[in-house]
Subunit: 168 residues, 2 copies
Amino acid sequence: MKLQDAKMEFVQTWGSIGSSWGIPRSMAQIHALLLASNEALSTEDVMETIKISRGNVNINMRELINWNLVAKQNKLGERKEFFTANTDIMAMAQNIVQERKKRELQPVLDLLEKLKTDKIQGKKEEVEHFNKLMVELEDFIKQLDQLSEIWLKLKDNFFFKKMIKTMS
Amino acid sequence: MKLQDAKMEFVQTWGSIGSSWGIPRSMAQIHALLLASNEALSTEDVMETIKISRGNVNINMRELINWNLVAKQNKLGERKEFFTANTDIMAMAQNIVQERKKRELQPVLDLLEKLKTDKIQGKKEEVEHFNKLMVELEDFIKQLDQLSEIWLKLKDNFFFKKMIKTMS
DNA sequence: ATAAACTTTCAATAATTTTTGAAAGTTCTA
DNA sequence: TAGAACTTTCAAAAATTATTGAAAGTTTAT
């Protein structure tokens, strides 16, 4: 199998996975292409390889940069901008998790905070059920936070990794 | 604040969060409504409360049941079916993760397997870069698996929880 | 066997999200 | 300061995904 084909297959697969995780297909594809590339690529390189418009590349590249998955790079004597992906996969995953935590956990926390402050009025039994749910949700979110801590440690703490293993 | 309003706000919020995680808004809303409800609800109850069509309730309810987030329940002397949510939030999260793992991690594994078997042809340096990426991805996925093991332990092993805390 | 009560299906429609591409904006060179 | 090289923006179009609702299917009671 030719390298080019392997790359393209990777780009496609990554694209559809991203898609099912709520990440725009093009964004995931651009990311995959940069990951698979030995060297920095220009907007035009990307446009041509994945056959998407300039605007699309521009907008999604910006998002990838925001997420810290991609960085701009200048080539000596070239006016164009080039882009490379951060190749540390673990770091990449961390950035993604971080980003989603920010975007999606926060609204729940805000809601829980609000509902905890307000005294809720209704039939005793029903209110109790509801409040119990709120408490459980909070615990759950705390546990998620804990898990992301562990994730950080797993990344680069060999000792921690071993310990987890022996406890499994 | 009236219980009914609190419930509806919860339903709305859960709905939009689900939405950003690639879960249909209605599905998340139905789930939230059942979670917040003291007792089992019928299709009609759900239709009226969140104002969605019968077909929508039916289809999404089926999906919730597939995901093990909801169960059917019969009421004595009633012909209709009623539904309740599994209220164990931690178990719920597990089911969701499980489901997504099945659906979305598998394609990556399949791709990696395929690309590992095929000998890839191209410039030495570029091929090496690509192969390195594939190996890293595999490690990454292994680590994800490890993480879900840890989640299981966090869920119900108090000792483990404590230990993690002291190590943080 | 009939009909009422209820559930499921799915083609059509609606809503949402993503992508395009051309125009506007910026930066650099001479 | 002009103009070439490049980047950004965003309204409109396309693609995708979710929802409706009425008809078909099923189950239960008599």
